[in-house]
Structures are given as structure tokens and as C-alpha cells.
Symmetry: C2
């Protein structure tokens, strides 16, 4: 690999390209939300599900959630999502790394009070979990809408950072008899665990293997074996 190739590959770079940012947010199933604790006890970071609609990132949960109460109070917030793409195995220990795509967004969140927007946001969460799912299930009742706090964060101050490509070793190390390369990693799906075995597996689940987030990656074993309790 020449020095020129290496430069062309830009193994680590930042991006303010909106399509890059949007694609990372849409592929990630969870985000990490950081805020200053209301009691002045320092920063807190909490994982939570998110959904995107246009340039807005939605967060949601129980009205009693400390994170939502604090973040919805007009304080500065920072949200990060990270996707892992590979283990970067260099000839030297020093140059080991990870391939990843991440987004960091700064802003202040506002509570969504309009019921139509709130309903659309809840549909977006279900669709974010699994495309096509929202149309298959019982829609939110008025009581459920009330029992959900939804926050909206404007994504105008967001940027992406990613590392891609092979390890970048020192020139002096290139002739070492040490194997180097990338071991790709990605999220895949395991065999579905039905609660309702008498009902046909719906389109959303059957198409999950074609979802770009899991494109074709099926596993026989899941990380957490879940027994069918139906």
C-alpha cells in the first residue's frame, strides 16, 4: 500500500454531510443522551431509543423519567450514536483501532405537546425499531399518548465522524512477519421468538433480513437466548 493510497483512504474523518448524518442516525437502534444533572452533580449519559423525522431527533419515555424531565427543561444536551463496522488489527499494538461511524449532536430539546406530532413521533419510534411494524399493531390510545413524554431535538448542530478501511501501520513495520487486516463486525438478527405462535409471522419481521441495518445477516444463535414463553 502506497502513502498515496493511504491518504486517499482517509481512514479517520469528520463530516457535516446531512445524508451521512441521517443514515447513521437511522441505522443506529439506540443513542446516548448526555445532560447535566439537575442537582448540579455533574454530567449524566443515558442510552435510549430514538427516532428521526427530517431534521428532528425524537426521544421518548415515561413522563417520570429523570432524563426526559431534565432534558425537556431547556438545558444543553448532547446526543451521540455509534455504529461499529470492524476490528482494525495492525502489525503494531499501537495502531490497533476500530472502524466505526458516529454522530454527535448538540442542542436543546423541547417537549412535543401537539397531539398530532406526538402521534407521528410514536409511529416513528415503532418504525425505527422495525420498518413496517407501525401498521401491523394496535395504535396508541389517547391515554397512552398522555402517558408518553416526547422530546424533539433540532439536528442543525450535528456532525459525523468515522473510520473506515485497513490498519495504517508505520512504514518500518510493513515488513514485519505479523498478520494485519480488518475483521468486520455488524449487527445481525437471530431466529425470531414468537409470543403468538398460532399467528403468521408478519411482513415486518419477514423483511427484517432485507433491512439495510441487518442486510442479510442472520444468525442461528442470539447473544441472549430467549425462551418462547407462549
Amino acid at each position: 500500500m502506497s502513502e498515496r493510497t493511504r491518504l486517499r483512504r482517509l481512514p479517520e474523518r469528520g463530516s457535516h454531510d446531512w445524508p451521512v448524518i441521517a443514515a447513521i442516525l437511522d441505522e443506529a437502534l439506540v443513542c446516548h443522551v448526555a445532560f447535566a444533572a439537575a442537582d448540579g452533580a455533574g454530567p449524566v449519559v443515558i442510552p435510549t431509543a430514538h427516532a428521526r423525522a427530517g431534521r428532528v431527533l425524537y426521544l421518548h419515555g415515561a413522563p417520570a423519567s429523570r432524563m426526559l424531565r431534565t432534558v425537556g427543561g431547556g438545558v444543553d444536551v448532547c446526543v451521540a450514536v455509534t455504529l461499529l463496522d470492524g476490528l482494525v488489527l495492525a502489525r503494531s499494538l499501537f495502531h490497533h483501532s476500530l472502524n466505526y461511524r458516529s454522530v454527535v449532536a448538540f442542542g436543546r430539546a423541547t417537549e412535543v405537546v401537539d397531539l398530532d406530532e406526538k402521534r407521528r413521533a410514536l409511529l416513528a419510534f415503532a418504525e425505527h425499531v422495525l420498518r413496517g411494524r407501525a401498521a401491523e399493531v394496535r395504535e396508541p390510545s389517547a391515554g397512552e399518548l398522555k402517558a408518553t413524554r416526547v422530546l424533539a431535538l433540532d439536528l442543525s448542530d450535528a456532525s459525523a465522524k468515522l473510520r473506515t478501511g485497513p490498519p495504517v501501520d508505520d512504514e518500518d513495520d510493513l515488513d514485519l512477519p505479523v498478520w494485519a487486516g480488518v475483521l468486520p463486525v455488524a449487527l445481525g438478527i437471530g431466529p425470531v421468538v414468537a409470543e403468538t405462535p398460532r399467528l403468521a409471522v408478519p411482513v415486518s419481521v419477514r423483511q427484517a433480513a432485507c433491512d439495510p441495518r441487518f442486510a442479510g445477516r442472520r444468525f442461528e444463535d442470539a447473544a441472549t437466548p430467549v425462551e418462547n414463553s407462549a
Copy 2:
């Protein structure tokens, strides 16, 4: 499913069990570090690699890294790691959820200046990326040790939170003709991309499929296709 079963399953729960916390930290490839920006501009959260040794969480990177400079300055910090285990597909949109295991740790990080501890920490990072890898590669030089800032965070204030098991639907929804279940998700590994095709694939890479983090989960296509540039 009876109400009693449901309660036994404890779908969402917190834990202060150290073995649970340690296992989640070890399985996760990245953590998210939250801190208050030094300029008073609010909270920042940044994804980064981590490694654990006993009750210490190590962070590392270039000495110029803003995150490491700030976090190493004795400020309050919060670190979260999150593993995804499944898409929880309920009969109602409202009860859709994710199965996950997460750890949140609070504390103040100190810079590791002792060279022996620093060297051990760097080995731990490579081992965290891939078990058995540290012994296969060129070890860090004195210059590389100097060019790496390592922070240590005591894990005495850490807790785990997780959701596991099937969707929890309202009793009134159990007879709806809506399929419900869990679609397990997990990180798997793709076909290795060698930079050094003339060298044999080493033990660390060959054993990766047996690593509990990827246990047996191999897929043919990676999320980010990486060309072999060797």
C-alpha cells in the same frame, strides 16, 4: 402468559452485581464518555474504546484529544456502555421496546503516568479489541507509550440496567390478532479482510468466532464492505 410469569421475568431491572457489570463492560467494544465542556458550553458525549482491568476502566488516545485532556483534569465524568439484544415487538405500538444490557458509571478519571501500568493498559486495549491479539503484534515502543494518554476511572459507582424477555402487553390486547415476539439482534463477524494475504491468519482471528462477544455469529456480508487493498 400469566401475570405471575410476567413478574418473574422482570423485563426491566437494575443491578449492582459486579459480575453483571463487568461482563457488560467486557462485551461492549465502545463506551460513551460524558463530561462538561471546559469552556462551560455544556455537556459533551463522545464514543471511544475502553478496556477493563479489575475495577478500573481505562480510556486512551492521543494526548491532544479534547476529551482526554478534559476528562483527565479531575472533572466529573459519566460513562455508559450499551449492548443490544433484541427488538421487542408487542401487540400495541405503545409496548414496543428493545432488549438491552447497559452499564452507567460515575466518577473522576486520573491520568496513568506509571509506565508499567500504562503498558499494561495498552495491552488491555488490544486484548479488548480481540482476545489473544496483544501477543501477536509488535509491542509499544517508548515513543508510542509517550504518545498515548491513558486515563483510569474507578468503577466503584457503576450500575447495570437491562431489559430481557418477551413483550409485555396489556391484558386487553392479548387476544388481538396481532403477532408479537422478539427479534434477537447481536453483533457478529464477517469474512476477514487481510492486508497481509501471504501470512497465515493468526490464532486470535481464527478464534474470534468462539469469542463470547460473537459466539458463532458469522455472516457473509459486512455492513461496510472493505476492499482488500494488499
